[in-house]
């Protein structure tokens, strides 16, 4: 199956659940389309990643003269779900977010770490005054290591 789904969501936390559950449903569609219905880990990973990236986009919202929306784009290509999230914020570097040292019980810093570990690939680049986060994850059949 090859499908494209795009959401334009106001950068407000009241739409966080909408954004992340849309990610979960896109993941579920991807899994079902390739005949793998029991893919809870895959669906959860996508839901988590979208929640983290959208939360980041809202929390670091850069005041702009225009009202802007977070663009969330899902592309289902067979077994691969690609998620692209575009914002209008200041640049951020994916690699500059350090791995949280859990033994010290930090209160924050897990978000990007979670995204990098939940998804198979994560990339960030700049486009038109904003960040574009591109993530992808492949549905793996049970039994594949």
């Amino acid at each position: 199956m090859r499908e494209r789904i795009t959401l334009e969501v106001p950068p407000d936390l009241q739409f966080l659940r909408l954004a992340s559950t849309a990610g979960a449903e896109a993941a579920r569609c991807t899994a079902i389309a390739v005949g793998m219905e029991k893919q809870d880990a895959f669906v959860h990973a996508v839901e988590l990643a979208v929640s983290e990236v959208f939360t980041n986009a809202v929390k670091h919202k850069h005041a702009s003269s225009h009202a802007w929306r977070v663009m969330i784009h899902f592309a289902i290509n067979g077994r691969i779900l690609e998620v692209v999230v575009k914002d209008r914020n200041r640049p951020f570097d994916l690699d500059s977010a350090p791995k949280p040292v859990l033994d010290t019980l930090p209160a924050s810093g897990y978000g990007l770490f979670l995204v990098k570990h939940a998804m198979d690939t994560v990339m960030v680049h700049r486009e038109a005054d904003g960040n574009v986060v591109t993530m992808a994850k492949m549905v793996k059949p049970e039994g594949a290591s």
């Binding site: 009241q14 992340s20 990973a45 929390k59 978000g111």
Partner: protein, 113 residues
């Protein structure tokens, strides 16, 4: 998100219901750190999703309670939320029980029959 509270064997048990994310994490953290009890159990059986905001709130609260010689124990952590713990290795920091009563009992083992 709604957070219910119970007291079992003098231990405060919090039962959040719904999603713990950036919207509800501040309320979650407030509930975890208010009150006189330094020992708490959080029952995750009715939590359908938790992201880093929720985890951060939990970890921050635990740090605060442990500084006061208390602790937070986790109960009924099912697959979805368990995976969030695993990804961040937070499972190394918490005692996780599959039963709320067992988590409560673990606070005072010498008192159990």
């Amino acid at each position: 998100m709604r957070i219910d509270q119970q007291v079992m064997n003098n231990i405060c048990v919090l039962i959040p219901r719904g999603r713990i994310d950036a919207v509800s994490a501040p309320i979650f953290q407030e509930q975890l750190t208010t009150g006189d009890d330094d020992n708490k159990v959080v029952d995750f059986s009715d939590v359908e999703f938790m992201d880093s905001s929720g985890l951060g709130a939990l970890v921050a609260s635990t740090r605060r309670l442990r500084a006061q010689h208390g602790d937070i124990k986790i109960a009924c952590l099912y697959d979805k939320v368990r995976r969030t713990f695993e990804l961040t290795h937070a499972d190394r920091l918490f005692d996780i029980y599959d039963d709320t009563e067992a988590a409560v009992r673990s606070f005072a083992p010498e008192k159990s029959e």
